[in-house]
Symmetry: C2
Subunit: 169 residues, 2 copies
DNA sequence: TCCTAAGCGGAATATCGCCTTCCTCTTCTA
DNA sequence: TAGAAGAGGAAGGCGATATTCCGCTTAGGA
């Protein structure tokens, strides 16, 4: 693959990430192309169909979250703090929208790996008595989706409240 | 107005309430008509434009919430319990979607009245020390919208957690 | 430097879903 | 029972997006 082609592929993926976060997975292809500073033709050359684009996006996204998880797990003092930080980070990035848009879509195995990692932390947080026991990993993952379609100020306000609700009772 | 016309008007409003709750305020007019067991023509005869329909919907909606508020305020033992019950009821009804769809739309004066009533309860709940003081009426109203676009099981799971997050810390 | 395959842009075309109108048939009600 | 009001839904129009196609540009090896 030629160098410029590679560069454009990366740009497209980057643009798609933002646009999908803003407008959902049905966002106009032309918007993505424009955002990437590229013609629609180029977009279609790289990703002949929307599905392929979303799949690539999903994979990249899961890996990013994975990295974020590693980082917070290392930086935070305990498991519950790490979970909180992870959720806040993910939603702040506005990437939750991608999770929602992509839920059920491709890359299920990568997602599985992520879920397993979150699950480890959650169990640990509960074992340490910091997180209420009647909620679980599914709730955390769902949380990312729930706040996905509310960009801007809403998550910033509610997510902390929501996480307080998950504290040990 | 002829009796059948009146009957259809009511049916349309009822159908619109459900459809808007499911698909947002841009839901296809034909879907609303079909749901009401009526032709599109009839829908357009009663509500020449979408705005009129939404306005009627908003007014009806606010009144329903008003009634719900009165009921819970009377039934529940204290103000905070009433607020919780009100929120849970509203979202369970799936009407939150309408609130979201209609936010900013018509019937601002009716909405004002509702907000004022909620505000009374919230202040009382905080005065009684049952609700955390760093959250307010705006948060409660926003709550209705936040869970609006997540019909089904999600609110049932998260709303209680969210409300726990609003408990006195 | 030159050649050419790969790549690019974006106008043009095809599709699709929804809005809105309008005309004919039906139903109230005085 | 007449006639005004109402109902239904096919038809036409419109805007937005997907997708193709082809002439022009460029990277990069010989």
């Amino acid at each position: 693959m030629r160098a410029d082609a590679r560069r454009n592929r990366d740009r497209i993926l980057e643009a798609a990430r933002d646009v999908v976060a803003e407008r959902g997975k049905d966002a106009p292809m032309e918007l993505i192309a424009r955002r990437a500073g590229v013609g629609v033709g180029t977009l279609y050359r790289r990703f002949p169909d929307r599905g392929g684009l979303l799949a690539a996006l999903a994979e990249q996204y899961v890996h990013e979250l994975m990295d974020a998880l590693d980082r917070t797990a290392a930086d935070e003092p305990d498991a519950w703090a790490a979970v909180r930080a992870f959720v806040l980070y993910s939603v702040e990035q506005g990437r939750g929208a991608i999770a929602a848009a992509l839920a059920g879509t491709s890359a299920p195995e990568a997602r599985q790996a992520l879920v397993r990692r979150v699950d480890d932390l959650v169990r640990q947080a509960q074992a340490e008595g910091a997180m209420r026991a009647d909620a679980g990993t599914d709730d955390i993952m769902e949380l990312l989706s729930v706040f996905a379609c509310h960009p801007g100020v809403v998550p910033q306000r509610f997510l902390p409240l929501m996480l307080d609700g998950l504290d040990r009772r």
